[in-house]
Amino acid sequence: MRLLLVEDDPMIGEAVSVALKDAAYAVDWVEDGATAVNTLAHGEHQAVLLDLGLPKRDGLAVLRQLRETGNQIPVIVITARDGVDDRILGLDAGADDYLVKPFDVNELLARLRAVVRRQTGTADPVLTNGTLSLNPATREAFHGDIAVVLSAREFALLHTLLLHPGRIFSRAELETHLYGWNEEVASNAVDFLIHGIRRKLGAAAIRNVRGAGWLVDRTL
């Protein structure tokens, strides 16, 4: 899962990027509203963490423009403005959730999981297609009687597939979901991760379609 972090404070931006990468997210970080709008137009990201006090373009303006252009990407607003009015303003402008600085990283991650889960239309925190299940909070994966904790990247890959059971992801698509702009991607990185997951959960967990890519089975 790839996130866009929009934060003008370099120290906070840096620290939150590290925290998100630790939690197996691919993170791109931009520092102003205008760049955020341009970046999101490419559709590479699955969620946005948006600071409101931004140079060039206020966070609320970014949010409104996103929603006006029909972009449904989950947005969590992160801001130092904690007045009720500010929160209402943010949510009404189209934010999915609201987090006031200073925040706990674990709370940020939980809220992130929640907005992504709501995006998929399920209330159940455990993602599943019937045979294969994944708990985003613990990174535990279940397949048959096997229960195993995945590494960060393995989790990120399986998470991507399980968000859209039945959909085939190409290698390039998986790479964009898994890696940020500045990250080096080894040519066999995806194969390596798939191999790791199959070893832990069994070969049937992820199916390969020759020349097309990978998928998990559609929900029965």
Binding site: M11, A15, V16, D22, D32, P55, K56, P102, N106
Partner: protein
């Protein structure tokens, strides 16, 4: 000493009325007394004339018959007027033969008396006498009667004065009560309705003061809100950095994550320090001394030289005059260091920062000149506001530096202005203070 206008007015007016009343009373007493005395003399004369006349027209027997035989000398017990007809009546021993016609005051029968002597043409003499004591008593009584209305009037006047003074001063008491009821943090202006014309300017002055207080309170409130808000950023960074450190998977990662945490702590420390500085400037009154600005500038340049060199910025001094000014040293230091820090923050590598000391006839001038990007005209007023950062600049500064410089400058009694560098792009932070001390040409 407490000066109650109401009490003073009541006392002064009451005193004035009392004094005037007493003078009037004394005058009317004296006049009435004199009048009564004259009136009694008239009565004596009339009695004498009447007695003389009656003795002439009536037969003596008829006159005597009118009087009780035992009281040959007519004597009224109240007025104690006695009438002596000579040669008919026996001559009292005080009545000497040579007593002239007219009024006399003499010793008669052991007490002083007023006597009127009238001679009749046939050779008779009529003498009418009245003791002075009785006369005085009657005169006194009648004079005292004229005082009565005045005596009754005085308490009424006093009561009226107190009432009137109190009523006329009531608007002032109302204003005071209204002021007392004001909340300190957001006072409402006083209404001038029903306030006497003389007090209106005073009320307006109070209202202007209230407005200034309101503005100041509002400014402080905003500052506190902003400060609380600003403190969140370093706190957020700290909290995330600490959790990152905790999450570090290896000693190397841990080591790597330690530096940002330290930077975060440094940033929080710096913000706290700047907030404290600002509070101290606003609260403090540091005594002023003669400050050798040239020496201070050299010291500060030395202090910032390592930072400037690390950033590749050339820092220097342009001492056009050797400057000594009368100032609070710590505040002056804050003006210059914050100007320097600001310049060093925004001037790119290869740039130049200069402290320039100059003086005109009226002012001592300390300029911190840089050849950085400068600040657009529209932004200049705002960059002096607390926590304001020029859009597009990296947001690590607290946004307090120039605010601190401005506040310190204000405390010093000078001004801080931001100017364009005339020779090209760049900013001049100018501190200007009226010259009290001498500034000799270098």
């Amino acid at each position: 000493m407490k000066r109650s206008l109401q009490q003073r007015l009541s006392l002064l007016l009451g005193g004035a009325v009392l004094f005037a009343g007493l003078v009037a009373a004394a005058a009317s007493f004296i006049l009435a007394y004199g009048e009564a005395t004259e009136f009694q003399d008239d009565i004596l004369r009339q009695i004498a004339v009447l007695a003389a006349h009656s003795s002439r027209t009536l037969p003596v027997g008829a006159y005597v018959a009118m009087q009780p035989p035992a009281r040959l000398k007519l004597k009224d017990t109240e007025t104690r007027i006695s009438v002596i007809r000579l040669p008919g009546d026996p001559r009292p021993d005080w009545l000497t033969a040579n007593l002239a016609v007219g009024f006399h005051t003499l010793e008669a029968g052991g007490e002083p008396a007023r006597v009127f002597v009238l001679t009749d043409p046939p050779g008779g003499t009529t003498v009418v006498a009245q003791p002075t004591e009785t006369r005085d008593e009657i005169a006194l009584n009648s004079a005292l009667h004229t005082l009565l209305p005045l005596v009754l009037l005085l308490p009424v006047m006093a009561w009226l004065i107190v009432r009137i003074v109190r009523r006329e001063l009531a608007p002032v008491s109302r204003l005071a009560a209204h002021l007392d009821a004001q909340p300190a943090e957001r006072p409402h202006p006083l209404s001038v309705r029903g306030v006497p014309e003389e007090i209106v300017p005073f009320v307006q002055a109070i209202n202007r003061l209230l407005e200034r207080v309101s503005d100041l309170v509002e400014q402080q409130r905003r500052f506190i809100t902003d400060a609380a808000h600003e403190i969140r950023s370093p706190l957020t960074a700290l909290s995330v950095q600490a959790q990152n450190l905790q999450q570090a998977a290896s000693p190397e990662a841990m080591h790597e994550r330690f530096a940002p945490l330290q930077a975060g702590i440094e940033r929080a420390r710096k913000l706290t320090e700047q907030l404290l500085r600002l509070a101290r400037i606003q609260a403090g009154t540091e005594p002023t001394v003669d400050v050798d600005v040239s020496a201070l500038a050299r010291e500060l340049i030395g202090e910032y030289l390592p930072l400037a060199e690390a950033k590749g910025i050339d820092v220097g001094l342009d001492e056009r005059v050797a400057l000594t000014i009368d100032a609070a040293p710590d505040n002056l230091r804050l003006v210059i260091t914050n100007g320097l820090e600001n310049a060093l923050k925004y001037v790119p590598a290869g740039g130049e920062v200069t402290i320039r000391l100059d003086a005109t006839d009226l002012y001592a001038i300390i300029d911190i000149v840089d050849n950085g990007p400068g600040i657009p005209e529209a932004e200049r007023a705002r960059v002096l506001d607390p926590f304001y950062r020029t859009p597009g600049t990296r947001g690590e500064g607290s946004g307090l530096g120039l605010t601190i410089a401005r506040e310190a400058a204000g405390r010093l009694g000078g001004n801080l202005d931001l100017l364009d560098r005339p020779e090209g792009s760049g900013l001049v932070v100018r501190y200007r203070q009226r010259r009290a001390a001498t500034a000799s040409s270098a």
